[in-house]
Symmetry: C2
Subunit: 320 residues, 2 copies
């Protein structure tokens, strides 16, 4: 009988589950909203529901799966049993492994969402299996999985890898964390939205992203941004250029500090806009990387949304 | 017979050598100018001369020492035999280990100067032997030794740890590397000198650091800066405050990325000014460190100038 591994990508907005064969071929996926405001038990219930629906599509019994891996948006205890702190879900020290095992009837393994997605990229996309690698995910927020000396960087209290809160310009906009000029406040999709909104409010600039007669817009999807840039929308292009500049700056800083072999970029913004963004990001980064570290390969992941669930299935596979 | 280890701190300006007993008690030290402009062979000759003079003071024969450790200001080959690139000495791929062994008649071990000094601090000053630690050295330039997961971070091409070239403000002054707003261009002793000079030139501000009637000043020593700050010199205080602000910003970025247990500060500026600087640096850093990483201990090394030679002696000891 073929072994199956289940990968779950738990985000602040959505839960994605995938059923994988032993060769990491994806047999089926399923998606649901997270709705963290309904509380921990309700989210666990929706994770279980999503896994069961994906398993049903693939024609397997989830209780007979070899294991379930989950990438969660927060810090994970060193025994990989608890989510210690997940601000977007408002979780503190929850026993996610035990709670899901009780409901699913098979072993469950936890990891940090960015580290798990980086595992997917490292294992399936990179032939050379670099010992030093940084995977940056640009979306509503900005996160990263960092490998140094062949091992994921977790830090003294499992709080490492917060590249989104690296200050790149102390005179920049205020970040959700309270500090000014964090990478996330300068280059996330939230930052893009805020900048477009204030440009429209200030100067009444015309843009496809936000019409003056549509004040109800509360976010800008990456696809909409791509279409605006492709149509030559000036404000969209200017804002995306700034995003690329700061992303390049962040990459240069990381290369000078960590001297990685590979920097991989992922997340919604990159999935939609990598053909436009990658040359501009490379341009901003390379001039600022010290000569000894310039061999770095800066790439966009082709796994897209699947990096998280694939990495989670690998997490389950590696533990069983 | 007691074993002896010899530690050498090779800098762009001076060579410091120390003779140590097996317990890392320092028996004697000696200092000479590096004079890198005279070329590699001449510098090797002066290293040998410095080691021999220190050994003579301690009453030992250097050829009978158990080993010599050297911290060099550049990247070191993975077999620890060559200095790959040392911009301040204008060295590329020099066989320093073999060349010194031939002249000294005992085993020689090479390391990067910042990593070697960090080794001294880690081994002799920190009881807890942290697995995750950053040692920053503030002087003419800014360098660091970084330990993650218990191992020194070297990176893919042994170029990691260049904290001095982390961009902290893209609108900041131009750095020696060509980029604008590097940590080194904002907070090194060179940056302080440049800022004082331009303030004096622009506004004719009076300062104890640089009198208008003394245009021959080409650098500001850390001791002079300390005396000016203690005497209430306004320009000196303002410039030092900026240095502390950017140092705190750099530390916050490093804590959010690496989540170290300890950040140790060393180098000439810190040796002279830690009582004034440390509270201001902590103040700038702590407000910007994410909650999960705030347990970090930010300290000034008490080893001072001896961190380099002590770490180098430890390097020799660990290899023999």
């Amino acid at each position: 009988m073929e072994e199956h591994y289940i990968g779950v990508d738990l985000g602040g907005t959505k839960i994605l589950a995938g059923i994988f064969g032993a060769d990491y071929h994806c047999l089926a996926t399923e998606k649901n909203k997270t709705k963290p405001e309904e509380g921990y038990d309700a989210v666990c219930g929706r994770i279980v529901k999503t896994v069961r629906a994906a398993a049903e599509s693939a024609g397997i019994d989830p209780a007979k799966a070899s294991g379930v891996g989950i990438g969660a948006p927060g810090s994970i205890s060193s025994d990989e049993s608890h989510v210690l702190f997940a601000p977007n879900l408002d979780w503190r020290e929850v026993a996610l492994k035990a709670d899901l095992e009780a409901q699913l009837g098979c072993p469950v393994w936890l990891g940090n969402d960015c580290n798990v997605a980086a595992t997917g990229i490292h294992r399936l996309e990179l032939e050379a299996k670099p010992n030093d690698m940084v995977s940056i995910f640009l979306g509503t927020g900005i996160g990263a999985g960092i490998i140094t000396n062949g091992v994921f960087l977790t830090g003294a209290t499992r709080a490492a890898g917060e590249v989104g809160h690296m200050v790149l310009d102390p005179n920049g906009p205020v970040c959700g964390c309270g500090t000014s000029g964090c990478f996330e406040a300068l280059a996330s999709r939230t930052a893009i939205f805020n900048r477009v909104k204030s440009a429209v409010n200030d100067g009444g600039e015309l843009t496809q992203l936000m019409k003056a007669d549509d004040p109800s817009v509360t976010r800008i999807r990456s696809g909409k941004l791509r279409r605006a840039v492709e149509a030559g929308d000036k404000l969209a292009t200017a804002v995306l250029d700034e995003t690329c500049f700061y992303t390049g700056l962040a990459i240069a800083n990381l290369c000078n500090l960590l001297n990685p072999e590979v920097v991989s970029l992922g997340g919604g913004l990159i999935e939609q806009l990598h053909t436009v963004m990658l040359p501009k990001i490379r341009d901003a980064a390379l001039g600022r990387i010290m000569p000894g570290a310039q061999q770095v390969r800066i790439m966009a992941t082709t796994l897209g949304d699947a990096a998280g669930i694939t990495g989670a299935a690998i997490l389950a596979h590696d533990h069983t």
